[in-house]
């Protein structure tokens, strides 16, 4: 199949609250990915950094920041920002450079040093920024939106807070097996129910934390991989970065209102469904071919939504799939084998790359105690502010 690139290396800095700068996390992850690939930094023809809004200019030009920290060696450099989808757009940029024949091997890095508590917009009086406005005018934090989605699922599909808690129980059990996860303790449904309500109906343990962390991958052309002695590398077969279509009728962060559907009939599929469908079409695989999925579980309820948006089950059947154990270890399609954001927390530009690291390890069969038996294909899914989304499909 044409259009594939090889994942030669994957590496991470452990997630947590380490109190250091994002550059350090990124460089640790990059060196780990290079070592995993068996390559010297000077072998890399291009470096793509996923930007963070923290760290000032170094964060805005993350590609060059990582390149300088690793030692200037003349590689091409790119920096990309796409909110939570930054890491996936960095992967996509690297892939495009390889497929165009411009470079053979690319290092992709994302890292962040997140503040404690709620994410908040940059400072200053900026009424032209929708993200600033939703905080200033409504006090609508990210959990506000997660709460709205959760309550809507309860009203429309009959989900319950107890169902949501089971997502946390499942993901925490897998995170406990992942040395890179921030939280490595199993959690019980009782512990979720005993945690404080943050945004009704969601509690503290239903919502992912903010974290420090870093992740990196080394991508190459298939030809380079073969020359490098890797006969059957994990391959990336699709990267979806499509935007929503007007009118977008699901209230999304950071918007105060949806588009109006008065003039144009909405598409039959939602934004999230369209971005996973684009990945399936590009990869030539469907949900039935998947061995595992890594999804953006910003909240427990949102993970259930992804089951439906990925086509793992029908609309409204997310809880049923969860209860059947299909998305748990040993199930038909384990979801968030890494432990997910529930166990990692958000390190915005790193997380989508970390999802690809997990796919890589699973498809290589080296995921240790969390290994999905005989994994052959996996998908990642993610959504960021301002109509950014991503889905990556990797195969073995």
């Amino acid at each position: 199949m044409t259009g594939e690139v090889a994942v030669l290396g994957a590496g991470m800095h452990p997630w947590g609250k380490w109190g250091r700068g994002f550059v350090e996390y990124g460089v640790v992850a990059a060196r780990a990915a290079l070592a995993d690939a068996g390559l010297d930094w000077r072998d890399i023809g291009s470096v793509v950094g996923a930007d963070t809004v923290r760290g000032g200019y170094p964060g805005y030009v993350a590609g060059a920041t990582f390149a300088k920290a690793l030692g200037w060696q003349g590689a091409r450099v790119t920096s990309v920002y796409a909110a939570c989808a930054s890491g996936a757009q960095a992967v996509d940029t690297a892939r495009a450079q390889i497929l165009s024949g411009r470079v053979d091997v690319v290092l992709v890095v994302g890292a962040d040093a997140a503040p404690k508590g709620f994410f908040r917009p940059a400072g200053g009086e900026r009424p032209e920024d929708p993200d600033w406005l939703r905080f200033r005018v409504l006090g609508a934090t990210n959990p506000t939106y997660f709460g709205l989605y959760a309550r809507r699922r309860m009203a429309v599909h009959g989900d319950s807070p107890e169902d949501f808690a089971q997502v946390k129980v499942k993901n925490a059990a897998m995170g406990a097996l992942n040395p890179y996860a921030r939280y490595r303790k199993r959690v019980t449904a009782e512990e979720v129910a005993a945690s404080a309500v943050v945004a009704d109906p969601l509690r503290l343990l239903d919502i992912c934390a903010t974290s420090d962390g870093g992740a990196a991958v080394v991508l190459s052309s298939m030809e380079f991989a073969h020359r490098h002695g890797v006969a059957e590398p994990v391959r990336i077969r699709a990267v979806s970065t499509v935007t929503p279509r007007y009118p977008n009728t699901v209230l999304d962060l950071p918007d105060i209102a949806t588009d109006s559907a008065v003039a144009v009939e909405p598409a039959t599929e939602t934004f999230r469904t369209s971005l996973t469908r684009a990945a399936y079409e590009e990869a030539g695989v469907g949900p039935e071919d998947l061995s595992l999925a890594e999804v953006y579980d910003l909240s427990t309820a949102l993970e259930l939504q992804w089951y439906e948006d990925l086509g793992l089950c029908g609309e409204g059947e997310g809880v049923k799939l969860l209860r059947e154990g299909a998305t748990a270890p040993g199930g038909r399609i384990p979801v968030n084998t890494s432990g997910g954001l529930a166990s990692f927390g958000e390190a915005v530009p790193a997380q989508a790359i970390a999802q690809v690291c997990e796919l890589t390890w699973q498809l290589r069969g080296v995921a240790g105690d969390r290994q999905v038996e005989g994994a052959r294909a996996g998908i990642t899914a993610n959504q960021g502010l301002f109509g950014h989304g991503s889905a990556v499909i990797a195969v073995r």
């Binding site: 200033r136 009203a155 404080a196 009704d200």
Partner: protein, 141 residues
């Protein structure tokens, strides 16, 4: 801060959006530059009042004090407020807003009718910042 987003008092209070004269798309917060319908060549955008009443699409609350730029007095104990996403039938859109003070999530259900009323977002010695809030009408059918 949000000039031209709402107007009027009491029964006359209305959220203000804009409407494209070419394709009839409605925008809130107001869009004053170009129509965002990709199939529309673009037309003049005129100010239009939104429906006063709608139905609850979903709701939640803020049990913790939101960070800046939301303005609160850190000296005072935190009073949670509810947030309601409201479906406006005529405009076929959902608009988020705070509930009026005193309305909690226990008072709300999806599908319940609410109306837009003027409210106070924040006030200090020099100024009062007004806003819109959603208030249940008592009609649930």
């Amino acid at each position: 801060m949000v000039t031209g987003w709402f107007t009027g008092d009491g029964e006359d209070f209305r959220l203000l959006g804009t409407r494209c004269r070419a394709c009839a798309s409605v925008f809130f917060p107001r869009e004053d530059i170009h129509c965002r319908n990709p199939g529309c060549a673009g037309g003049p955008l005129e100010e239009v009042p939104l429906s006063r009443r709608g139905r609850v699409w979903s709701y939640t609350d803020a049990r913790y004090r939101p960070p800046s730029p939301y303005v609160t007095d850190p000296e005072l104990p935190w009073e949670p407020y509810a947030l309601i996403a409201v479906e406006l039938a005529a405009e076929r859109m959902v608009v988020l807003g705070q509930a009026v003070p005193g309305v909690t999530v226990a008072d709300l259900t999806v599908g319940m009718e609410v109306e837009a009323v003027p409210g106070v977002l924040h006030e200090d010695a020099e100024r009062t910042w007004t806003t819109w809030q959603w208030r249940p009408t008592g009609v649930t059918a």
